[in-house]
Structure formats: structure tokens, C-alpha cells
């Protein structure tokens, strides 16, 4: 029997005993031993490690690839075409659009700020006629595959709290993030790779100062095995993946077998199922040492595919590379891949670095969607492209100094796009007012987006909970509406 199966057997046995214990004993014992079920610690499914009863219903998507665009891409320059904004270029913001709104201290009071027209032309795209700026030619070309949420809005006005909010449903760091909830609820189908993987990138020579905090993929109060594993852009993709210098794989195999034998003796003596888990854990580590290099070795990708993702695809640490890796991970059954690309914080760089940002992300994002599609994987893979907020339709900086044009953080409206499993493609859902300032109709709040994502994965967001500090916590707090209108 291989160690893996052995562990499963033990878990099952433990499951069985866990259940039978409920039926016996006095009230005090029942009260004591039952507590673990009462206290919300449901025993995981032995095969996947997921929770019993989850998925709650048939999922539309099996995995998620999140393309998080840190910094707040400017919706008014990319997706949210407003002729009136162009007309009003250089005029002060009408008071009724910003009355009572709070902006970052960099803007302070918005009174008298001047409107700034989109910096490049927009066109309607494909059969769906979705508006996409010329800034994003590749995304524009696949508009019919995408579902645009043009009425996104959030609660937070600064980066770290807003990204935390997007990914964990709370502005304060320390709550479990989307990927860890998914890992906790659904468990993992892969044995030789982590099930929640994070890759970060940033455009070269950017002035951006946003940092990737590890709480962006933290598991909060969920057991830490559910936290995201960051694949690094340099060195071993996974920390400590390589054997020490001079130790061959064959030598390692030999000792792992020996360790397993010695641990097996220990298991027989102590009877502690944790020992079986340990045996499996070391075996999985060994598998991972083979599967990760195989994963990151792009030599089996045809030239045409590499070219599709664009320049930089062969440089580890680039967004294009990460997008291709995301597809490879999806192929291997990884449930949640979180890409984060920083540098969208155009306070003073709308006519400069903004172009670099678009160039470095546009082609690969579109390629990922189309590559998944041509492999038939887009049907059960969900791709989400989103910033943590949008940017002010009015200017930050001097209207007479085009070189330093910028826009400040804007939580009141922005655009997110999604593609794949269970969505209506080619749909633009929701609208902002005529200046792209506030949501006018069909707004989607962060918690709604989260509820919808979970729904597509077959999870009722109100029922994926974890008991902590005496309370059942969930990703969507006490909010969240599944946006039925965008579901296929």
C-alpha cells in the first residue's frame, strides 16, 4: 500500500470513530466530545480534504485564475467610455457628482477639480459592441468572450485595505482570502502541487511603490495549510524546493523511503494518525520536487503559443510568463491561481507609465483567455481581471502639464471583466453616470462579486463558514448577492 492511500485509510477510520463517538456516553461526555462538531470543526473529506456537502450544487467552474491589477486601473481610460467626460475636459467637476464623497488625502476635497478626458480613443468591439479603449488592443479583440462588470464599487480608498477587501472581504488584514476559502471548502484534486498558487509581477522601471503583502494570499484564521503558496520569480519557484547541493534525487528517494519505514514503526507503536499524515506529507514533497520543475519548464510549449502570450513570456517574473504558468497550472488541476501585477497607480503617470502597464498586461491576459478556450478549458475555468478600485474621472495634477497627468483613487465606480465557466460572454453589465463617477445602475459590490464567484464554483456563499472567536465567519461577511444577471 502506498503511503498516500494509507493516510486516506487512516483518515477514514478516524472519520468513522469521530462519528460513532457521538452516539455514546453520558451527557457530559456527549457534550465534551460532540463539541468539535458543534464548534464548527467539520472533519474534512478524506480524499480531497474539502468539506462534506461542498459543493452545495453542481459547479459551473472548477478553477479560478484571478488577474489582480494592483494600484487601480483607470476605468475611464480603459473600459468606461463617456463622451460627456471628453466634452467636459478641463472643466470643473460638477458638485452634484462628488457631494459628500470621501477621497484620499491626496485629493482631499474634490471641489473645483478639473475633468480629464480619456487619453486615447475608444471603439465598440466585436459583435457585442462592448466599448474598449485603443489602449488595450488585444483585450478589445476578444471582447465577445468577456463579461464586463461596469458598475463595480468598493468601500476602501487606499490600496492595502482595498486589495484586502477584494480578496478577503475585509479591509483589515488577517481574514482568509478567496483562494484559501476555496481550498478550505472544496479541497484539492492535486497531489503534487499546491492548490492555491500566487505569482506576482511588476512592469520594469515603474515608479510604483505598492507592495505585495503576504496577507493578500493569507488564510487568516483558517488552518495555514490553506494559505496561498507564492511561486517566486527568481530562484526556486517554491521555497526550499531543490535538494541541497550534491544530493541527487535518487539519494533523496532512498532516504525518504527509509524515513517512511522508520515512521511506520513509530506509527505502529504510538497509533497516532498524525504519523500517517507525516508519511504522506514527505511523499508529496518528493512528488512536488518533480512536478514543479516540470511545470516551469516551458520547453514543451510550441513557438506559436509562446508568441501568443507576447514578449517576456520566457522571463520568469513577468506578467506574460505568469499568465502562461496560470494555464499550465489550470491544466494540472490547481484550483486557484492568483496573479498580481502592480503599477496601476497613475497619480502622475497617465501619459507615461500607464502605457507600459497596458502593454505589459494586455496581450497576455487576452492570450490566456483564448488559450484556455482553444483547449476547451474556458468552459470550466473562471478568469477574473480586476483592480481594487478605479480612478477619478477628474485630474490629479496640472491640466497644463500633460506629462504629469494623473488620476487619484476612486472607489465609487470601476470596471472588472470576467470570462469563462458559467458566464454570459459578450455582456456589459451595469452602468455609471455620464462622467463615469458613480454607479448609475446594476452596481456590483465587492461582496456581490465574491458571492458570484463562489456560486460559480458550486458554493453558497452564506454556507461556507468557519467558526472563529465565537462567530461563523464567511468571505462575504453578512452581505453579498449572486449577480444572477450575468450567469449563463
Amino acid at each position: 500500500m502506498n503511503p498516500h492511500e494509507q493516510q486516506k485509510l487512516h483518515s477514514t477510520r478516524r472519520e468513522f470513530f469521530g462519528r460513532t463517538a457521538n452516539g455514546i456516553g453520558s451527557a457530559a461526555l456527549a457534550s465534551l466530545l460532540n463539541r468539535s462538531t458543534l464548534a464548527g470543526e467539520r472533519r474534512p473529506d478524506p480524499r480531497t480534504g474539502g468539506l462534506p456537502g461542498i459543493p452545495h450544487f453542481a459547479p459551473k467552474a472548477k478553477r479560478v485564475i484571478a488577474l489582480i491589477q494592483n494600484g487601480g486601473p483607470s476605468h475611464a481610460d480603459l473600459f468606461d467610455w463617456k463622451p460627456k467626460l471628453a466634452q467636459m475636459h478641463g472643466q470643473p467637476v460638477p458638485e452634484e457628482f462628488v457631494a459628500g464623497k470621501r477621497f484620499s488625502t491626496m485629493t482631499g476635497k474634490p471641489d473645483g477639480k478639473l475633468m480629464l478626458a480619456p487619453i486615447e480613443p475608444f471603439h465598440q468591439r466585436g459583435n457585442s459592441g462592448a466599448w474598449v479603449s485603443d489602449m488595450l488592443p488585444y483585450t478589445a479583440s476578444i471582447a465577445d468572450e468577456l463579461t464586463f462588470l461596469k458598475g463595480m464599487h468598493t468601500d476602501a480608498v487606499n490600496h492595502a485595505p482595498a486589495i484586502s477587501f477584494l480578496l478577503s472581504g475585509a479591509q483589515i488584514p488577517g481574514r482568509p482570502t478567496l483562494g484559501s476559502w476555496m481550498n478550505y471548502g472544496l479541497g484539492s484534486e492535486v497531489d503534487d502541487l499546491p492548490n492555491f498558487i500566487v505569482m506576482t509581477s511588476v512592469s520594469k522601471n515603474t515608479t510604483c511603490g505598492q507592495i505585495f503583502y503576504d496577507f493578500y494570499w493569507g488564510s487568516g484564521f483558517l488552518p495555514s495549510k490553506h494559505q496561498g503558496v507564492k511561486f517566486r520569480g527568481s530562484g526556486d519557484p517554491v521555497l526550499y524546493l531543490s535538494n541541497p547541493d550534491g544530493i541527487t534525487r535518487e539519494m533523496r528517494r532512498g532516504w525518504l523511503d527509509n524515513i517512511a519505514r522508520l515512521n511506520q514503526m513509530q506509527l505502529e507503536e504510538f497509533g497516532d494518525p498524525e504519523i500517517a499524515t507525516r508519511i504522506a506529507q514527505y511523499e508529496m514533497a518528493f512528488q512536488m520536487q518533480a512536478s514543479v520543475p516540470e511545470l516551469t519548464d516551458l520547453s514543451d510549449e510550441p513557438r506559436a503559443i509562446l508568441d501568443m502570450y507576447g514578449p517576456g513570456v520566457e522571463e520568469p517574473g513577468s506578467f506574460a510568463h505568469n499568465c502562461l504558468m496560470a494555464r499550465r497550472l489550470a491544466e494540472r488541476g490547481v484550483s486557484f491561481t492568483q496573479l498580481m501585477h502592480a503599477g496601476w497607480d497613475q497619480h502622475r503617470s497617465l501619459t507615461t507609465e500607464f502605457y507600459t502597464q497596458c502593454r505589459d498586461t494586455d496581450q497576455a491576459s487576452a492570450a490566456l483567455v483564448m488559450d484556455l478556450k482553444q483547449r476547451g478549458m474556458l468552459d470550466d475555468t473562471l478568469v477574473v481581471w480586476s483592480g481594487e478600485f478605479g480612478r477619478t474621472p477628474f485630474i490629479q495634477g496640472d491640466i497644463n502639464n500633460r506629462k504629469q497627468w494623473g488620476r487619484d483613487h476612486h472607489p465609487y465606480a470601476y470596471t472588472t471583466w470576467m470570462a469563462g465557466g458559467g458566464l454570459k460572454p459578450g455582456l456589459s453589465y451595469g452602468e455609471t453616470d455620464e462622467l463615469a463617477m458613480n454607479v448609475a445602475s446594476d452596481g456590483v459590490h465587492i461582496h456581490d462579486l465574491q458571492a458570484t464567484l463562489l456560486h460559480l464554483l458550486g458554493i453558497n456563499h452564506e454556507e461556507l463558514t468557519y467558526r472563529f472567536q465565537g462567530r461563523q465567519f464567511r468571505l462575504t461577511d453578512v452581505h453579498g448577492r449572486v449577480v444572477q444577471e450575468i450567469l449563463a
Partner: protein
Amino acid sequence: MNSNFSITLLLFCFALSKPSVAEEPVDFARDIQPILAENCYFCHGPDAKQRASDLRLDIEEDAKQSIIAGDANSSELYSRIRSDDPDEQMPPPDSHRSLTPDQISLIQKWIDQGGKWGQHWAYKPIVKPVIEARNAIDFFVQQQLHQQGLEFSPIADRRTLLRRVSLDLTGLPPTVEQINTFLADTSPDAYQQMVERMLQSPAYGERMAWDWLDSARYADTNGYQGDNERTMWPWRDWVIGAFNDNLPFDQFSKWQIAGDLLTNPTEEQILATGFNRNHPINGEGGRIPEENRIDYVMDMTETTGTVWLSLTFNCCRCHDHKYDQLTQDDYYSLFAFFNQTPVTGAGGNAQTAPVLSVPDQPQRLQLAKLKNELSKFESEQKRLIGALNQKQNDWELAQTKQLQETDTWSVWHPESYSAQKADLAYSNDGSLLTSGANPANDNYELTGKSDLATIQAIRLETLKHASMTAGGLARSNSSNFVLTDFAAYLIEPGKPPTRLPFKKAQADYEQTGHGAQLAIDANAQSGWAVLAPDKNVQREREAIFSFEKPVTLSPNAKIKFVLKHESIYEKHNIGRLRISLTEQKNPTLAGDTKQLLAALQQPNDSRSPAQLKLIQQKHFESDTDYQTQATKIDSINSQIKTLAKGYPKVMVMADSPKLRKTYRLNRGSYEDPLNEVSMRVPEMLAALPENITPNRLALANWLFSVDNPLTPRVSINRIWAKFFNTGLVKTLEDFGVQGEPPSHPKLLDWLAAEYRDCGWDTKHMIRLILNSRTYRQSSHTSSHLLELDPDNRLLARASRFRIPSWMIRDYALASSGRLVRKIGGRPVNSYQPKGVWEEASFGKKTYRQDSGDALYRRSIYTFWRRIAAPTMIFDNADRMTCSVISYRTNTPLHALNTLNNTTYVEAARLLASSVLKEKLTDQETLDKIYQRIVTRLPREKEIPILLAGLAHDRQQFAANNDNVISFLGVGDSPVEPNLDPVELASWTNLCIAVLNLDESLTRQ
């Protein structure tokens, strides 16, 4: 297997035949309230906003309306929970909550038995059960075991016990000497003595401190953007020391919460308050300071609530608690204690005031050295003073005579004088006074003759006058002046005025950056000014300007002086002045001389204290030996000052002098205040005593008052959990109604009372626990026990659990013999794969690995960067917010870490080296390695596996020398030169394997 199985079956049947639930009295707090809390309180609980109807099931009077005592079937509560009519059914179908049949029948029984209410166990006063057993722990645990027909497991063998105690109390494996000592000790109290030795080890404080740092969210950086480095580690060292000194837990706590508010607090008591300044600081651009400040105060409030009360206050930021009787008002009333901080929330300074400077060890040594020198110089000076005092009279006489002979200044009386803007008035004493216009800048011209044959120097006196600001020297805001230019001209009839250049300028006082020399330089704006650090400008000052060449005036010649005030400081024009001339070369400043002469001429007994001081000072200064000594002392003092500037600054607590009002914040938002609240403790608990000023100290005292049952229960429960992996109350962080009731309520209360009554003596409590039979059991598990009690809540065996990652590292280093046993100090950077900080911070933070001993310090001294925690640590609290629970998970990533991390590979090599040096047989070598890692010898059946592995590696390494060299090159420490490389490499790889055995990673 077979026999095990039949025993299981037998016991199973036995268990089934035990009296059923019905016959045992149902306890409201233990059995019923958790069900109600879980399923009903969301709508029928404390939160007024969520309450769907008037019915409250958390309050006895209300709840009783829905039950008829003794008759479940007629009770509304019971019929509602049994109903399947969607309109009737409770909880309603859309609540996603439901009761199990067991729970429904428990409620039925509870009502049938009379529906007796009871207070939530955690809030009940602690009553110490009276028992006569020798060990209360064993008494209560055994009592419960017997109820289940169980017995204690046998006592674990001595090696296991030694290793267990060593890990639990020091976080380190026992050394070979410790093993031998303990095994050789045949005295009846050998075990107790061993526990005692471990408790006295300095490693004890380091081990205990780790969990405390997790709860204090301790880190070496701010977190967030910028992630600035802070210097809070003296506080960390204080925690370690406090554990080692066994500082009573009440003192330990009170100092940390409110040490600054104690009467005449010591530096140590203030240092302790660093506890609540360990929270992250958000320096992100665009953040509103008040928003940050509120975040920080919330963090302090919730951390205090969790650490000492295990109440989940954070729920009440936004609304009343859903389950516990805690209101939003309660939250902000507790918040009010911490809201008195002077911190504004602005910026990301990692040493935001209030701070306390605490020297590190090298600085302490340096300071001691300097102070030692200082005292030597000072005693030498004392001796000199004694000698000088002997000669006082002689000196005075000589000095008086000399001064009388050398006062060579003669006052100059100008013939004409004018100012550009102000009026100038002449007095007979030769002085000129300004009045009238008080312009921003003004220039004066004075012209007149002199009787002196040759003039060597000019003296300019600035004099006080009542018409000046504060009776001082000028009519500026500060009464200071800036003389930007002073020039002299020779005027002879028929000739243009000739400038008379000065050689140097000196003054009896010069403001920093405003020396007298600047009045004769080329810069038109710089000049002489006299504002003293104490801002006092009421002292008269003088400057002397010496000519380059002596000036001879012909009888018709005149001399002209031009004084310019052209600084950027407005109205800084000299208010009253007088000029004197001298024929003496290199004259000295006269101010002191004049005063000195006046003092000397005064009869001894009528001199003022200032005059006495002046005479003495001048006398001493005239002595070269004294001067030398004084210079040395000044130099030491300035070195001490410079040293102090480099002391680490620990952020500490303080209250603003003015009371800050506190408001309940709507949904926790800083910009949406509701009603005002005052400092008080939650209403459901005993109030603060009357007649005291409510402040943090009052709060700290209240936590440890007899009226508060939570703190003793909460704190002893956490101590317990260190030794059994689970608390008697499993939810270490929540003692509210949603928390788990204690597995052994009486034991918990007995221990809590004992902890309180013994004076919060932590080591005493640990002795009690470790000396119990319960603790000393074997951790072997039978299938029966596993079936009956998988989580070991009944304690029919000892707990067996993976040691935390920080301990795994310390453990490996200790086994290798390379662990550096230095306590405290600045944090260190050990081995870490390249680029982790750089990637997390876009290259803004560069990881600089330390070298030498710093690589082998205990993990607690590792630099903790909040945005990228040390990679060698896994499964730990994230140190962002307070955490009192630890998770132990097993992922392949952990295995990769302990198999491949340089730390472990190098430790394995060092361990192998030190054993191989003894030149033993393979079997003996193996024995030594096993002893050092798992405290025991390898078993018969283990040896062939290990030796086969070794043989295989010998073969592999012998065939590939490059591999040997690379493998032995891992880590900074040099390779032992006198060992066969193939042997060393093979044994090293074996040691890696042994370090990774389940047994090595586990405390059992």
C-alpha cells in the same frame, strides 16, 4: 489487532449500557446555552439591531416566557423547534441553522427537568473546590476518566519524560549530559529535580516568550508600505527576562498595560508598556491620520480584550455582540482607556513618540566604561579642587591687582550719530539708545574723535533697556539682534574715508551659527546674534573687534563706525550700545573681567552666590591641570550624549494630559461618531471600584481583582494548553457563550483559584502541572482511546504534537552543538533564500544575511519583517494582530523546508562532524546521533535501515567527489578538515533524515 478489536467492541457495549442522557441533570450553561447561542441568539440575542422580535433568549426573564417549567410539550420554545411548518419552525428555514435531534431532546429534557437557568460558566465567580487528594489535577482528571471506565496510561519512560519536559520548558532537546545526569539519578525526586533544573534554565524564558510575542503581535517592522524598521526588541528582551525572573503574572500584566501610570514608574515598568505599541503602523501615502489612530486604538482594545479576557470584542466595533452580552457601547467604553494616547496616527515613523531609549548590550558596556572613566576624572578633579581651595586667598589678591592694572578700555563718545530709520539718543555714559520707528532693518553711523595714540581694538557692548522687548537687547519679537556688518573708517580732512580692516572678532556669547566673526565677513546677511538656548536675551553682551594693523589717529582725524542689521529676521536691530577703544594688543573680553573685579572687590562675606561661583570658576580655570581635567570630563560627557543618541527607541504608552472624549463610532468608522462614552468595563462584568480615577491602571488593576473571574481562568488555561496542546477550554481565544465549555470545569476553577491565591506564581503552576501523573503519562494511543476520544480531551494519555517551526530550528541547532546561547539583543538575519525581501518590496528592502554566531541564535532573535516573515518559520501567527492560538498543519512545503533549508543541512553536517571526531564504530556513531536528536538509542529494528541508507550514500558519494564537495559546502561554517569527506557527507545526509523523523519533529 484482533484482541484490540474485541476490547473495543466490549468497551463499546459497556459504554452503551451506561446510564443514558436522560437520567443526568441537564446543565443550562453547559448543555443548553451553547445550543441557543449557536442557533437563536443571532435574532433573539443581545444585538438590538438584529433582534427580529421582542423575545430574547439570552435573558432569563424573557426566555422563561417561552417555556413552562417541567412541561416541554406545552412550551412554545419546544413546539417551535420541533415544528416543520415553515411559518412556525424555529430556527426559520432561511436562517440556514437547524437543531439536531439530540439537541432538541436535550432542550426537552431541560424543560422537563424544570428549565433551570444558569449563568454562563466563564462569568461565574471562581469557587475553589476543596479536595483532599495529593494532586488536584490527577484527582479531577481521574474522576472523569473513571466515569468513562478509563484509567491513566502508564507513566512514560524516563528518556521520553526528559525530552518532553525539556521541549516544553526550554524548547530545546536535552543535552547528552542532561540525559546522563537524569538517568543516573536514582533519588525518588529525580523527576522533580529535573523539572526544577529546566525551570531555572535561561532557555525557559525564551521558550515562554515566543507565545507571548505572538499574542503581542511583536515584529521588527511596521508592516504596510515602507515597512520601516523599528527597535522594539528591548521590550522582547524584557519579556524573556520577566519569565526567567518569574515576575508574578499580575505584575507582568499590569506593567504592560499601564506601567507608565504607576507611581514613580521605573524604566522597566515603562518599557513593559511597549506591549500595546507593537501593532502595525500604516504609513501609506494618502491615509487619514485619524483613521490610522482609530485603527491603532482598536488594536490595543481588542488585543487587551483577547489576551486577558478571551472575549471577542472585535465583533462590537460595528454592532452589539450577537451572542455575548457585550454592546457596542461596552466596546467604545473600553476603547476610551486607550484613546488617551498622544499618538496622532500620522506618518510611518517606526519610533513614533512616546518612546523610551534603551541601550543595547554593547552600548551598556560602553556606557559603563565611560562612566567609569568619568568617575576617575571627577575624583581627580575633586583632588585638584581641594588643592586650589588652599590657595584661594593668594589667588584673589594677585588677581585683583592684575585686573586693576589691565582694564585698559576707554569709553568712546561719538560727536555725531544717526540711524537710517530709528532715532538715536546719546547718554553721558557713552551709550546710544534707539527709539521711534522700529523698522525691519536699520543701519547706524557713528563718528567721533579719540584721544588714544594707537587703537588696537574696538569693544561693542549691547546693553539692556526697559524699552526693549522684555527689557532686553532689541525691539524684535525675541529681543535678539543680528549685527550683520560692523565696519570702521578713518576720516581725514580732504581725503575719502578709508576702511580699517579687522583681523578678528570675538564675543562673550555667540548664538549657534551666528558668531561675531560673521559681522565682519563678506556675507551681507550673516551676522552676530545672541539668543541663548534658554531663549534668554536679557544678558548684556559684548564683542571685540581687533584691527589688522594698529590705527593711529592724527589730531584732525576722526573714526567712523557703521553698524548694519540686514538679516532676514525682522526688527533684529541692536537697541542700546556703547563703544570703547583700547591701546592694548589682544585685549580680552571684559564682561567677565568687570564682573570678576567687582566680585573680588566685594568683602568676602557680602559676596552674592553668583559672585562666589564666578570667583571660584575663574580661579579653577586659571589652573592648567584643572583645565586639562575639565576638558577630559567634557569630552566624556559629550561621548555619553552621542552614545545615548544611538540607543534603540522603544515605543511606549502614555496618556495625553487632556482627556480625549470618546464616542461610539457608527460601524466603526472614525468619521461617524455617535453618542459619547466614558471609560468603564463591560456592563455584564463587575464594575470598576468607585472613588477611583478610571484610567489604564484602573483597568489593569480591575483585571486582577477578585471580582473578575475571567483573567485567572483565561490565563491558566493558556498555560495548560502549552503542556497538553489543547486548553481545558479548547477555544483559548473565546470564553464567551460561543466558546467551548471546559472539559474539566472543576479542575479549571481549582487551577484558576490556585494561580490567583499563590500570587500569580507561574512557575508554581507549571510545577503543579508537570509533576502530575496526568502529565507524566505515556502518549501511546490505543485504537479504543482513539475511537472514544480522538482529540484527547479526557486525558487518558499524554498529548503528542508536532513542535512549532521555530522550535524545530532551535532543536536542530542545539542537536548540532552550534546553537549560540546568548540571550537578547538586536535581531539577526539568518539563512534565507535570496530575493524574498527584495521581491516583496520591489527591491526597496535588501536582505543582508548576518555571519558567524548570528546565524546560530535562537529563532526568537530572528528579524521579523512584517511584510515578508522569515521563511524558516511556518505555521506561526502572522504577527499582524493578536493571536493566542497556534495551528499545526502539515504540508509538503514544511517537509521541503526541514529537508533542504541551509540551516538544517548545515546543522546536520555540524552534528555529524562533532560525532565523527570521536572516531567510533558506525553503531556507536549512530547511538550518539540518536541520543542528541531524539534522546534515545536507536532500536534493533531501526539500525539496519539506517545503516543500509548510510552504505548506499557512501557508495554514491565515493563515486562522485563533486557532489561531496558541494554538499559539504552548504552553510557558512568551515568543513572539519580532519574527517574523510565521503564519511562526513554520508553521515550528514543520515542526520538530515533523522532530524526529519516524525519523532524528531514531535513532542511525545
